[in-house]
Amino acid sequence: MGSSKTKKIAVLALQGAFVEHEKRLKNLGAECVEIRQKADLMQDMDGLILPGGESTVQGKLLTQLGMLQMLRDRIRNGLPVLGTCAGLILLADELGKDEPAWLDTLPVRVRRNAYGRQLGSFWVNGEFQGIGKVPMTFIRAPYVESIGEGVEILAVVENRIVAVRYGNQLGIAFHPELDEDERIHKMFLDMCRQGF
């Protein structure tokens, strides 16, 4: 699959802002499929996007629909994945006290609602490694409190880690899908093109 030109990207469509990701991907010439239940996972895909939304809702639905372990296995086997906001929370292997991890594949500790309630939501133009300045929209966002071995930091805003890469996993605290800038999605598609 690594050689074919059009990349097929699966977008987790249980809840949240998945349509926004699909729009970006289609603009960049990728094919999108929505993942809403177990049966949707029985297909080949070149990459996976875990969108923003409410992580508790998405995590519970993943569990109830029997998809958690399947996704975990595919990510551990190297399927390229981009998690934004709630998606980053799903990937993290450590959350706050008494909050069990969901997919548990990304060795970072993530703090949820780290900037407070909606009044704490904000937008900045921040530096993203390898890309330059990109618009960053933070909505009731998390940030990364600490990273494990092998995790590369891609962006820091006000001394907080807001984007990381670990192997084929990209975890981002903000919402690149909400701004017009498509460079982060392009970077992810390049990752998918390199295959796994």
Binding site: G16, A17, Q118, L119
Partner: protein
């Protein structure tokens, strides 16, 4: 509210899409709702069915009660203020509510003016029965719309009517010539720019949820198939026999709203649904408040 803040507020609504927002009256109910997969909760002292039963003037909830719910859950917390009551809205902003619902469920305090929502930093959601109402609320600063439906009845007929009407009116504008939009803006009593947006994009400029009378997973899926981007469930959950199970089933029904086999499974063994009231049987039509 700055333009940037307004955009952020619309974007929070985007994060709620495909989710279920549940009415809760206690921290315990809020936790049940979160546990069942609610994407946000609406904190209020009495759910619409009880407001309807009790009669009398219905007001904003006690901030202490709302704060109790904010502490109990990590998902966004919304609360209602009365139509036109900008001081109740100021109070809700002061306790850092995530979303204010300027709601016809409570007794309106102003029969002419809605709140100037642009004066606030926190986002507002407002009810609408048709496109004109929706665009007027958006013009006042609402960053999310929901159908009014008829709250507290367990009867989804009005939500269906409102959603269909909105869709029909959007389709009509989409098919108009551009030079006809000026007259349409005049008819709807809204600025030209909003009508032009609907014409160009074929949708509202903000997220649109269904609300009012949703009581079963099938009701929720119906609203999603009719084009709702998510669902509010008020009395339908905690007025039913098994709130936990019903809440979770409605959440799953909203995600897989097109899979009838799954909807059949989700509809099994939910216990008793809330007792509904048909629209002909009710004296008070809350949907007629604040147009």
């Amino acid at each position: 509210m700055s333009e940037e803040r307004y955009v952020l507020n619309k974007q929070l609504a985007q994060m709620l899409k495909g989710g279920v927002i549940m009415d809760v009256t206690t921290p315990e109910q809020a936790q049940i709702a979160q546990e069942a997969g609610a994407c946000a909760v609406m904190a209020l002292e009495r759910i619409p069915a009880d407001i309807r039963a009790a009669g009398g003037v219905s007001r904003m909830s006690d901030p202490k009660m709302i704060k109790g719910i904010q502490e109990a859950v990590s998902i966004p917390v919304m609360a209602k203020c009365r139509i036109g009551h900008f001081v109740e809205a100021q109070i809700l902003e002061a306790i850092e509510i995530d979303y204010i619902d300027e709601s016809e469920v409570l007794s309106p305090v102003d029969d002419v003016y809605h709140i100037d929502k642009k004066q606030f930093q926190v986002p507002f959601v407002c009810g609408a029965r048709d496109l004109g109402e929706a665009l007027r609320r958006i013009n006042e600063g609402a960053s999310m719309i929901r159908t009014k439906g008829e709250p507290g009845t367990g009867d989804v007929v009005q939500a269906v009517r409102h959603m269909r009407r909105m869709n029909r009116e959007i389709a009509k504008i989409t098919s108009m010539r551009k030079d006809e939009l000026y007259e349409e803006a005049k008819q709807l009593s809204v600025p030209f720019a909003l009508v032009e947006y609907v014409h160009d994009k074929g949708r509202l400029p903000v997220v649109n949820f269904a609300a009012g009378g949703v009581a079963t997973p099938a009701d929720a899926a119906l609203m999603m198939q009719l084009g709702a981007e998510g669902v509010f469930v008020g009395s339908g959950i905690f007025k039913s026999g098994n709130p936990k199970k019903r809440a979770s089933a409605i959440v799953q029904a909203v995600t897989n709203y097109q899979d009838s086999r799954m909807l059949a499974e989700l509809s099994e063994d939910l216990g008793e649904a809330m007792v509904g009231i048909n629209e002909q049987e009710i004296a008070l039509l809350m949907a007629e408040r604040g147009v």
